[in-house]
């Protein structure tokens, strides 16, 4: 069977990661595929993995009470999503569904947490990368909250 290592090495999220870590990551990784419309997970489900999107588009949704679900972000090829696996109680904070056919690498969060506990350098490296993603998303969310395209009266 073909190893997932070359795919992980090529993914922008792992750019310049020390080669020795790829073997560890591969041990927690699996290839996944979702058809258009398929639900990846629901808010409140156990967040047991994160995804590196290789192809397609995923919609992240939140459902306000008594209102239709709203898409709050979309994630495409080359991007990573899901950081709830890092923070207790390890539950998803939004729904995710495939807008198109999605091919991705899923990385088992429990498996990776164990490896990060054993090797803090790997843990620090991954936290730096995730922190950068979280910061970027937080900035984007703040701009979205400003409603900059609304009428300036």
């Amino acid at each position: 069977m073909k190893s997932l290592q070359p795919i992980l090495e090529e993914h922008p999220f792992f750019k310049e990661l020390e080669p020795k870590y790829f073997e560890l990551l591969v041990g927690c990784a699996s290839n996944v595929r979702f058809e258009a419309g398929e639900i990846l997970f629901h808010e409140g489900d156990q967040a047991d993995r994160f995804f590196l999107v290789r192809q397609g588009k995923v919609a992240l949704e939140m459902a306000p009470p008594n209102k239709e679900p709203m898409i709050i972000d979309t994630v495409e090829e080359g991007l990573v999503f899901g950081w709830s696996w890092m923070v207790p109680p390890y539950q998803w904070h939004f729904d995710a569904h495939a807008l198109t056919l999605v091919r991705a690498i899923a990385i088992d969060g429990k498996c990776l947490r164990k490896k990060c506990e054993e090797d803090h350098e790997l843990g620090y490296e991954l936290f730096k990368r995730f922190f950068s993603v979280v910061t970027e998303r937080l900035q984007h969310t703040r701009v979205q909250l400003l409603d900059v395209y609304g009428a300036q009266v």
């Binding site: 679900p69 898409i71 972000d73 979309t74 807008l99 979205q144 900059v148 395209y149 609304g150």
Partner: protein, 283 residues
């Protein structure tokens, strides 16, 4: 004989009468009006980036960017968001009504500098309107430019301007068009997120790319940051500024922006020229 109805250089303070040919609803609060100069002076020439002062008789005057095709000199199109007295009065007007037009005023987008380079157009909300004439001109002279990208951000799918044209442009092989919205209901198949997220995919050769931006100032600030992150020089980033233009010829000072008058020195500026005052709250 047909003359030129552009009055900016000859009689800049006198509005010339235009007859409304069409009022078209674009989104909930945005509409376009197409007008034609009256009398012998039936041509109106402008360069993309310029604006007019549009007068609703008995109500008042507002600065409006020109959003139509610069090659179609018989008619003039403005796309307007109804937010104040004058624009609300414009929204109520019908075919055959008369308005006054002074202009065109201001500086154009930098086509000479763009020639031979890739061009990235980044628009936010109703900011696509002043960039639409740019798109018409770039497409009319397509062979003069490298890759052309149009990146557009709006509040939600219903607020996307010029939907049919966006679709048409998106279908062209020589144009990269991408749009995103701040939020959407289920069923929207496009992007959700901020417009800056579209930028990395649109730039392949930053040393030879010129960017033109129009949108709310905060959106332009984030866009400039992302363009810089992608390696585009400040001197290759252009943006169009908006202030309270009144006289439109640099006399009254209403649109002063630091040492510049937006009506006369702008509205299109290179970022290099305004970077020390751009984004300053006090200015």
């Amino acid at each position: 004989m047909q003359g030129n109805a552009s009055t900016a250089t000859t009689q800049p303070m006198i509005p010339l009468p235009h007859r409304i040919l069409k009022v078209r609803r674009e989104t909930g609060d945005v509409f376009s009006i197409e007008t034609q100069p009256e009398g012998d002076e039936s041509d109106f020439h402008f360069v993309p980036g310029q604006f007019n002062m549009v007068y609703v008789f008995g109500v008042g005057e507002v600065p409006l960017s020109i959003s139509g095709d610069p090659a179609r000199t018989h008619t003039l199109t403005h796309t307007i968001r109804s937010v104040g007295w004058v624009t609300q009065a414009l929204k109520k007007m019908k075919k055959g009504d008369r308005i006054g037009v002074r202009g065109p005023f201001g500086t154009p987008w930098p086509f000479q500098e763009a020639a031979g380079n890739d061009v990235v157009i980044v628009a936010g909300g109703v900011g696509l309107a002043p960039l639409r004439p740019v798109i018409y001109k770039l497409l009319a002279e397509r062979e003069q430019y490298g890759n052309i990208s149009i990146l557009y951000g709006a509040r939600n799918p219903d607020d996307l301007l010029y939907g049919k044209e966006l679709e048409k442009w998106r279908g062209r092989f020589d144009l990269h068009v991408d749009a995103t919205v701040d939020s959407a209901k289920r069923g929207w198949m496009g992007n959700v997120g901020v417009v800056t997220q579209l930028i990395p995919k649109a730039i392949s050769d930053p040393d030879n790319t010129l960017a033109m931006i129009c949108g709310p100032e905060i959106m332009m600030r984030f866009t400039v940051n992302e363009l810089q992150k992608q390696g585009i020089e400040n001197s290759n980033i252009y943006l169009t500024m908006e202030r309270n233009m009144k006289c439109a010829i640099g006399f009254c000072g209403h649109c002063q922006f630091g040492p510049e008058f937006i009506c006369k020195d702008g509205p299109v500026f290179s970022y290099e020229r305004v970077r020390n005052i751009f984004g300053k709250r006090e200015i």
